[in-house]
């Protein structure tokens, strides 16, 4: 009896392998296959969620012409290279890897498969078939700094950081420069959560900042927890990555929303037309790489100011890192971009500007 059972199980397995073989080979049509590697779960409400929305926009735009696949929750360690290569082997010809930690794995796989195109988000290494793209979020942070300075009664801003990487540090600096343009004596308190994503800890950090006298909360972590706390305490806050007004209808001032869809659509279009080239795209408000959520919960004059600043930055008339930029020790930073800091200086920023009396971690 047991033997027959086993034989049945073996036959079942075998049948499985045959039909699976058929179904995967039947897949290979002449659609363009586009693959995505995600850091978090698609439902994280933040970073990965916004990439996922852009993927869905892609499907809507191109319909039958593309077939998309994603791998979610891919850790930035030894598994990343395999995950990317699996997408290549499944026939994907254009692959978006959406976190900084995928840089070296993407490069390794790109060298191995020269006829596949790769797009890496937020890194700095490129190759003939590997492009990079990122967003000038610091532009939005400058606007937020101005709004915060107008809205704060205590003159103290609370900032929840994830990790002290240049993207986050340049965001803090842009915020401060924006705020100082309104109130030269503005103060900022910074708490590093040492995590992109831990709702409980983000909530605790927000509480600690509010308890210490901050009355505007800004965050560079991914969940809506801080917004929620601000809302509970009747304070104001800025969202991150996505629209978070649902979590603070009376609190959200605005939010920096990642809107990758236009970029993804243009790159897929280029791939379909055969015009894809490896480029470094660092877009900002002017290319709608990110957008500001509607300005809410603020007086009309503040809203007007924010809109004016947004328009000025979009038109290239206002540079958040306009020279001279002075670091926290009072030294003037070398100006490598003409009348403002060069892109390389912002991409590798590891100093605080004057007015931040905190010490940068790791310095």
């Amino acid at each position: 009896m047991r033997k027959t059972l086993l034989a049945a199980a073996a036959a079942f397995l075998l049948a499985g392998s045959i039909s699976a073989g058929i179904s995967t080979s039947a897949w290979a049509a002449d659609k363009l296959k586009v693959g995505f590697i995600y850091l978090g779960p698609v439902g994280d409400l933040g970073w990965t969620y916004q990439h996922e929305l852009a993927r869905q926009a892609l499907v809507k735009e191109f319909g039958d012409k593309v077939e998309t696949t994603y791998l979610e929750n891919v850790p930035e360690g030894p598994d990343a290279e395999r995950a990317i290569e699996q997408l290549v082997r499944a026939g994907n010809k254009l692959i978006f890897t959406t976190s900084f930690g995928y840089m070296d794995p993407t490069l390794k796989v790109a060298k191995k498969y020269p006829d596949v195109h790769f797009e890496h988000c937020s890194g700095y290494k490129r190759d003939a078939n590997m492009a990079t793209y990122s967003s000038r979020w610091y532009q939005g942070r400058y606007i937020q700094g101005q709004i915060a300075a107008k809205m704060s009664k205590s003159g103290v801003l609370g900032y929840i950081g994830s990790f002290p990487i240049p993207e986050v540090v340049s965001g803090i600096n842009a915020t401060m420069l924006g705020a100082q343009s309104i109130n030269p004596n503005i103060k900022v308190k910074i708490i590093w959560a040492n995590s992109w994503f831990d709702p409980g800890k983000e909530a605790d950090s927000a509480k600690a900042l509010l308890d210490q006298g901050a009355d505007v909360i800004m965050q560079h972590t991914d969940s809506p927890a801080a917004m929620q706390i601000a809302s509970e305490r009747g304070k104001v806050a800025f969202g991150q990555d996505s629209e978070m007004i649902k979590f603070g209808p009376k609190s959200q001032l605005t939010s920096i929303m990642d809107t990758w869809a236009p970029y993804y659509i243009s790159r897929v279009k280029a791939q379909l037309d055969g015009t894809w080239k490896s480029e470094d795209t660092w877009g900002g408000l002017e290319t709608k790489m990110f957008q500001m959520a509607p300005y809410t919960n603020m007086p009309d004059d503040v809203k007007k100011m924010a809109e004016d600043t947004e328009a000025a930055i979009t038109a290239g008339k206002l540079q958040p890192f306009k020279c001279p930029v002075v670091d926290q020790d009072g030294k003037e930073v070398e100006c490598k971009g003409g009348d403002h800091l060069g892109d390389g200086q912002v991409l590798g920023m590891n100093f605080y500007v004057k007015g931040i009396d905190d010490k940068m971690p790791g310095k």
Binding site: I18, A20, G35, E76, P78, E81, R82, P166, V169
Partner: protein, 363 residues
């Protein structure tokens, strides 16, 4: 009617071989139901999980790459568990080993250091892992502090220490301040075995570790001591075995193996030190150790099998759009079934009716 377990007087070898097959059969049935509920073709889905990864050399290599650290760590842990020493902090020992080995790689970077670099790195990784594992072991033998807790706590400390190093002192000077060391030099890299693939020397080291552990447990007095202390501590005391010494020894061995696995992973598939080098290897290895019934050969098989489900899970996401969460449920169920069926080896099941007992032979 009552259901009871009864200890077998002798181990049934037939059952030992058949039980994993029953477990797989049960998993197949359960998952078929789950796939059907999710609207996926169960036969095709199971084929993608179990069979597809075994059909091409790329996937086979990747299975070996994924299994290498799991097997190395699990073999060390099995020695601890056999001796009744509960090291659940292998994750931390893995990280510290990676850090110590990377220290040599970072310090010799760009110099004309010769071929001694890699062996020195491996030695440093193993030594540091062993020392780090000795902390909970000494806390246990000297102060009686629970090693389960202290070894677990030290995981978080190691994680944060690594984080500090790559965001501060060891940061790649040319890396725009991103949290990673520079790519290791070729002399500091574990060589790959097959050009173009990722299978590396570590796989062979893992096989040597399995063989050595088999000899240690099966053929030496020390191995006998380990098994006696675990199985019959009172008898061991009468036999004059020093259980404290064995705790220190097994912790040191398992720490050394975890540390070695750590530096091999960093100097091999990853190529530099960065946060997140371990997707939970240290914890997954605990499961591998038990799935392998704390036997080196069994661990080798269990490690390869668990690696198969990881690779299969990715291919299922790509080929059939099966969410990663389903793979987690699948792995959890599989582990439960395998563990449950394994208890058939030690026990036989009996149904007892209230009035009379029905005894039936099992074969």
């Amino acid at each position: 009617m009552q259901f009871v377990l009864e200890k077998r007087t002798e181990r049934s070898n037939t059952i030992a071989l058949v039980s994993p097959l029953i477990a797989i059969g049960l998993t197949i049935v359960t998952m078929s139901i789950l796939f059907a509920i999710l609207g996926k073709n169960p036969v095709a889905a199971l084929g993608v999980y179990f069979i597809d990864p075994l059909t091409d050399s790329y996937s086979l290599q990747e299975i070996a790459v994924k299994a290498t650290p799991l097997v190395m760590i699990a073999v060390g842990l099995s020695l601890c568990y056999l001796a009744n020493a509960w090291n659940i902090g292998a994750e931390g020992q893995f990280l510290i080993g990676a850090v110590a080995g990377s220290w040599i790689a970072v310090k010799t970077q760009g110099t004309d250091a010769g071929y001694w670099v890699l062996p020195a790195m491996l030695a440093a990784g193993a030594a540091a892992g062993a020392l780090y594992a000795l902390i909970p072991a000494i806390c246990k033998t000297r102060f009686g502090a629970s090693e389960i807790l202290t070894s677990l706590m030290l995981v978080y400390v190691a994680d944060l220490f690594l984080d500090y190093l790559v965001r501060g002192p060891w940061r790649d000077p040319a890396g725009f301040n991103f949290p990673t060391t520079a790519e290791f030099d070729p002399v500091a890299t574990v060589p790959v075995l097959i050009a173009g693939g990722r299978l590396h020397l570590g796989a062979i080291i893992a096989l040597i570790v399995v063989a050595a552990a088999s000899v240690l447990l099966g053929r030496t007095i020390k191995g006998f001591e380990i098994r006696v202390v675990g199985a019959a501590p009172r008898a061991a005391r009468f036999g004059g075995f020093n259980s404290d010494q064995l705790i220190l020894l097994t912790f040191a061995i398992s720490g050394a193996l975890a540390g070695l696995a750590g530096i091999i992973e960093v100097a091999g598939p990853v190529g530099h030190l960065q946060p997140g080098i371990s997707p939970g290897y240290g914890f997954t290895a605990i499961i591998v150790a038990f799935l392998g019934r704390l036997n080196p050969i069994g661990i080798l098989i269990a490690g390869l099998f668990l690696a198969l489900t990881f690779i299969g899970g990715e291919q299922a996401q790509i080929a059939m759009k099966i969410p990663l969460d389903v793979t987690k449920v699948f792995q959890g169920l599989l582990l439960f079934y395998v563990l449950a069926c394994d208890s058939l080896i030690l026990y036989r099941f009996r149904l007892i009716f209230a009035s009379r007992q029905v005894s039936r032979g099992t074969g």
